[in-house]
Symmetry: C3
Subunit: 652 residues, 3 copies
Amino acid sequence: MLGICYYPEHWAESQWAQDAKEMRELRLTYVRIAEFAWSRLEPTAGNYTFEWLDRAIDTLAAEGLKVIMCTPTATPPRWLVEQYPDMLAVDVNTGLVRGFGSRRHYDFSSEDYRREAMRISAVLAERYGTHPAIVGWQTDNELACHDTTPSASDSALAAFQRWCEARYGSIETLNEAWGNVFWSMEYPSFDSIDVPYFAVTEANPSHSLAFRRFSSDQVIKFHDEMVDIIRQHAPGRFVTHNFIPMSDTQTDNYALARNLDFASFDNYPLGRTDLFFAGADTAQFKRYMRTGHPDFSSYYFDQTRGLCQQNFWIMEQQPGPVNWAVHNPRPEPGMIALWSWVAFAHGADTVCYFRWRQAAFAQEQMHAGLKRVDNSPSAAYPEVQQVKAELDKLNIELNDPLHYRVAMVSTTTNQWVSEIEQQGQSYHHEKVEFEYYHALRLLGLNVAFVSPDHSLQDFDLVVVPTMPIISDTFIANCKATNATVVFGPRSGAKTEEFQYPRNLGPGKLQSLMPIKVLSVETLREDISETLHFEGETFHSNRWREELGVEENTEVMAQYENGKPAVVRHNNLVYVATLGCVDFTKSLLGKLAAEQGITTFILPEDVRTAERGDYRFLFNYAGEPVRIDGFEDKEFIVGSNELSAYGYAITKR
Amino acid sequence: MLGICYYPEHWAESQWAQDAKEMRELRLTYVRIAEFAWSRLEPTAGNYTFEWLDRAIDTLAAEGLKVIMCTPTATPPRWLVEQYPDMLAVDVNTGLVRGFGSRRHYDFSSEDYRREAMRISAVLAERYGTHPAIVGWQTDNELACHDTTPSASDSALAAFQRWCEARYGSIETLNEAWGNVFWSMEYPSFDSIDVPYFAVTEANPSHSLAFRRFSSDQVIKFHDEMVDIIRQHAPGRFVTHNFIPMSDTQTDNYALARNLDFASFDNYPLGRTDLFFAGADTAQFKRYMRTGHPDFSSYYFDQTRGLCQQNFWIMEQQPGPVNWAVHNPRPEPGMIALWSWVAFAHGADTVCYFRWRQAAFAQEQMHAGLKRVDNSPSAAYPEVQQVKAELDKLNIELNDPLHYRVAMVSTTTNQWVSEIEQQGQSYHHEKVEFEYYHALRLLGLNVAFVSPDHSLQDFDLVVVPTMPIISDTFIANCKATNATVVFGPRSGAKTEEFQYPRNLGPGKLQSLMPIKVLSVETLREDISETLHFEGETFHSNRWREELGVEENTEVMAQYENGKPAVVRHNNLVYVATLGCVDFTKSLLGKLAAEQGITTFILPEDVRTAERGDYRFLFNYAGEPVRIDGFEDKEFIVGSNELSAYGYAITKR
Amino acid sequence: MLGICYYPEHWAESQWAQDAKEMRELRLTYVRIAEFAWSRLEPTAGNYTFEWLDRAIDTLAAEGLKVIMCTPTATPPRWLVEQYPDMLAVDVNTGLVRGFGSRRHYDFSSEDYRREAMRISAVLAERYGTHPAIVGWQTDNELACHDTTPSASDSALAAFQRWCEARYGSIETLNEAWGNVFWSMEYPSFDSIDVPYFAVTEANPSHSLAFRRFSSDQVIKFHDEMVDIIRQHAPGRFVTHNFIPMSDTQTDNYALARNLDFASFDNYPLGRTDLFFAGADTAQFKRYMRTGHPDFSSYYFDQTRGLCQQNFWIMEQQPGPVNWAVHNPRPEPGMIALWSWVAFAHGADTVCYFRWRQAAFAQEQMHAGLKRVDNSPSAAYPEVQQVKAELDKLNIELNDPLHYRVAMVSTTTNQWVSEIEQQGQSYHHEKVEFEYYHALRLLGLNVAFVSPDHSLQDFDLVVVPTMPIISDTFIANCKATNATVVFGPRSGAKTEEFQYPRNLGPGKLQSLMPIKVLSVETLREDISETLHFEGETFHSNRWREELGVEENTEVMAQYENGKPAVVRHNNLVYVATLGCVDFTKSLLGKLAAEQGITTFILPEDVRTAERGDYRFLFNYAGEPVRIDGFEDKEFIVGSNELSAYGYAITKR
């Protein structure tokens, strides 16, 4: 189904009815409202002015539209900041208070703000919880966006000290866990603990990791309380949250999502591609600047689906040029429809576009909408009509299950470790994970993202691009599966408290395979050594581990000096270096084939995905392309001749 | 005429007479003094010690030199800072107080400093206002240099709140004007308004624009009061100010100059070229590193002339290597003379060199002078002698009018908008304007800079490289002219309060031509699409607007997809994208030809300008060049065979 | 001899005896301990817990190991910071307090900290001064590391004001010395002087230089007091300090070392190469990324030897990948041994490896040791065994004198001036000095570093890559030598107080040679002009001075325009520009030959050095290489066929 983000408070009330009518005519199902409206809902302390919102909901409901209501806590009003100046966070880089004047100006550790946020949430939930037009709720908006998870405020410091006390029990335990004897960093008491910023040189990584865990916990605690309040007053309504890319939250997203009915994602393929591929050369950059990288949206879709292991929503879908990337190109014609279908193919049940009409003022006035400021339909409008018409043709249950034989295991500590102790500037956790994902997608494989706590028994190939801190549960899950499990470098490289494993890397993985990481080197991004695999030569670069292996360990690939680079023991494969995409694709292709998993060799810019009874084909290239091997398939949408930026849907 | 900047307080009094004698022998007319001398004029509060200045003036006057007196307010003394710590500004990026120890350490919003600055100005003006040797005054020095226009001090905040109150009347009006309903940014009262810095993410652009307007007004208010004080006590003397490049002031320079007799400019071609072309490749950079870009000085000269629509002064002319650019090369031999003549050709009545003798101490000791520290003449000295001899040969009134058929319209809001809402990192307002100017100069055209308030009736071709915020006056001026008026992209893209026009871009321009900007995309600098014009192929890049046009609108150039890129309606031309220089030159060349304006196709590094009865030719190349078509002209200086870095002057 | 850095407090006491036994078996002589152990020596104020240290020393002594004891003042414990919050320094860039949580969190100007640091030093020295196992002391650790020399604290400001009072006597003298009349920067009293940071634009360079001198003096004062305390209680024991690269201390290292028995150096060839050559292209960077640049370690070794004009120690030698550079590659096999021998060849008497066993926790857990975390020997271990075996074969007194005919004169003010007044961004003092050093090493020459106060009579060729501020002593030393003395550009360019010499550059050098620097230009790094020398063409770049010379001055090299670039007068040579390495090598080769100094033309990656009766040959290349001209030499280690990363030792 399709939906829209709508801000009635931005427009004259006289326009609402016409807007609602047009939404219905576009056959939208859902309308999301109220997420930034606090100053209009409570213009001064305790003075609630919900009447306009009542009328807005009624206007939408009158056209049969279903409403998703949001808590407005991402944008506390000015008067609240005056009342509780301590609610503002403190920047961990500059030490400056992060003030009023945009959004997300609150500290997750402020008791005052937490209380006020829950109050407004409760008031809203009480009033609208059982409203017949309201089918679900969105909590806050893009939690942690703008790097708002960490704060160096007094509130955060005090809460961190109590968090440490709860985690470690005694200061001696903390000092031991962090190795504070190093550089005489031992704390005499919990009250003397600092935030891990503003030291003369880098802080103890254990200290930094503890602060990341704490900061993540604060976000989750804040969010859980809000979910509880909504559930209390809004029985039978779903509760979701619109996530930003997982690595941007600095939060354990699996934990953040645990009380939600399903996760939602805000999808901005061009903006994200512009930032992620900023260093690409001209030809590379130009190739995908108006389509997004073919694997970039689905990378986040699959992660989002993994959060609750449920089909998900796109709560915000880019409908044209945006305003916030370094450069903001226009999508190629057809991309709005293509992106929508990629979302459905990867498990979206609903796609909501952001936003109905482009704003005429303030920060996002250069952000496209389905309608322009003058109310004319933008280029995206007919593409939305097209998607709706095609959805009708499918005539299927969209919450049909997805088909996965391949899983990727990820956890937030991967990111935390690699950011806290980068060791080589060319090592970026997310790029490493994306490279593995990209290789799997080039092989035409559906990829399930799962947390380390999730059973691996239903998969045939499990990829762990990296996992420095490994839990006992995950070891047990590995033992219990017959899948081939592939580990990338740095797996098991750290203990729970960010120490070096006394048995060397890969630490706990040594209980599964008899190898040791003897040393690690990191290289500059532009420098590669050769890597030998299956008689071919590939590149080893950025991160390279020297392995100690037993004599009879199977060596699958070798470094330039003949030493083992990829080894296998039983169903476990350990890759001791980062390699080029061709290598990763060859390795995973071989392992998939051994497990009897069918791979597809498709043109370079074509992707495929399966869902329910359907197979989807997407062409990210600017030229038409013919797909071989689909001649006898029944096409519901399109054909095996994909147009430029086109797609097709067949029966599986 | 020629002049010099002189600091008697830097040298032993015993040297003054010799210096004055040599200045006369060099046939200088003017000497500028006293601009940084506050600590010597008032060593402690109220203790005036003007006697040395009296003697310095007398010494200069004794040689027939005319004196320009400066107010010393750019360098308040240490004791004043101790007396009024609140006079210091606060850095808007770091929140740190901008302390004593260099110059410009004052906040334009400090009431204490304003009062003190006017006091010392009044005392000076009273004492020297009618001194027979003093022919004119310079206010302060390079107002706004070192990014001193904005401040985040308490004084600035309080003044901004009052400024908002005066502009908007009610807080409801302000909230409406800024669109503060977006993100619940509504302010409950004027006293709750913040400076638009230190927020969690970017501030509301309307808020930022208001603060820029306010900050500009503070500079102007400060300056106007000083001009009034001088005029009160110094009847018959001119008052001027030495401007830095217009974009560096963050101030409405037209307003700042409105009470002056004429504007002055501080001209540093090499330093400015080094900064402006920092990203150029080796060959490009090397080509002009010792000459300055051929259009870079005149670009500022023409702007300076436009401020008061009067011939202007060069108050500081670079005489050799300077100390403040990233790299500081030596000018090629002859460049000091060439730059001086470029200034005269573009409307300078006087060129003053900075400085008489290189300083032997403090921050600028690596900045060349006409004389070296050991009093030997530097390389510039004989070039100044040459310029003076050539000036004699012309035997003309230097305040002769200039001849303009082409105007460029510019306003500070262009810069403010493009800095506040860049939308694409490759869009730089000043580079866009400079590209248009460069194209006009390659066509050999004199260019008048005018403000949007200026009548366009006397011109045949008017170029508006961009003007996001358009006034009704400017629309009326466009309607009243028969000139071809060319608008670059983003014109009319914003309302007065930085909102998106409800009728879409180009906003108010729609009253002149029936087009709409349907969408905008920005591209990375290294990426171009093709642009079709007059059967040739050019580049479209960085900023690209999609136009909606009526069926019968003349399409002059088309995008790669055949859609309109340049359209014409009556005498108005709208260019919807940035293009390569060749395109801009071709387009403007065609439009000029249609208006019967003669263009010159000169060698690439040769420029020409007209003034009074004379035509000037300048060769920025390191090789001699012969100019065709001037065989029968009468040459007053040089010939049609220009030497390397040479110039020639003919009768028109 | 060989040694090791050991942290007993990081390991279970049960492991100490085994560690000591293995150290003995590796035939290490020295063990350095206790440098960061304050929190374990005094866990709360005045509560000393030395017993564990007693036992650790006893355990080491029982195996015949000699102990170097350190003062633990680089890591004051948390309780001390709580007691004396003013002991923390303030960052001169951000104004933020530099807090607890890593190391070096103290201000050299804090009276409280100074007193406490001397107290703990005295307590330690009293207790262990005459301990028979303790043969020497190391003060603090890497003084000034992490940019800790300057501080903008109130303590530093107050001390700076008193320092100024002592240096200048009257505020009038200071104002005159600094040229504060410029920009009215005159201070009314010493109490009104600021730190030279946080001003609106750059501070007066004289002010900045004074603050650098002051900051350096504070480090030296702190250190001298500590040395005195140790000497008082530890008769007959040596006192040394482990220096970081000289340019990183921001301190006058000659003065800092003056009370030491010898200087020590912490040698990290790969980390330092990674940082120093960060801008190199792929091929250049890859070439030395696992060996370090062939001249980079010896560059610092020769400087370290120069500090006390004594053979020196390597207190910390990189044993594998480190953790702190941008990228951290593994050394090529054999490099640990090669680096050790380079140190011995250049005057090291002892090489200590950092550290015995890789730390399992905290900031440096990715820093290799001789043993891995699991106690297995790392790749470096057998190389240390090899070095020890080879040391035995030499059977020589390692404190044999070195043989120098070439000296390089350097002083910290070179660096201070070039950092304070860069004039061209491509001018880096240390790169300039390194280029000269590199050229001398390519010629196979041993290079003695000496301070300007050191006699030059024992040398035949003296190279002064730059020396903006020249003392009268140095002028006298130049007059007293028959050596050829080569000066690089900018020599004599400043007075003692950072003014421009009234007689122009090269200032005081004009008493030795009749030349004047008429002007200076700086160019971007990628831009060169030609330089003519001995009939060949080279490059002149970055810094170029125009010289005024007398008619009969010998011009050795000319600029592209024929003007003098290198001139000679008597035994003095002045090089007015920076040139390419080939030029510098050709020039110095010619001058060496004229003095009868034998140069060696060796393969590009081979270096040689002499010490005592031995000549050393080192091959930094990955291929074996045969050295001609050594066929009849007696080889103690290796042969004239050097293996990849191999070395050889012959009788001289």
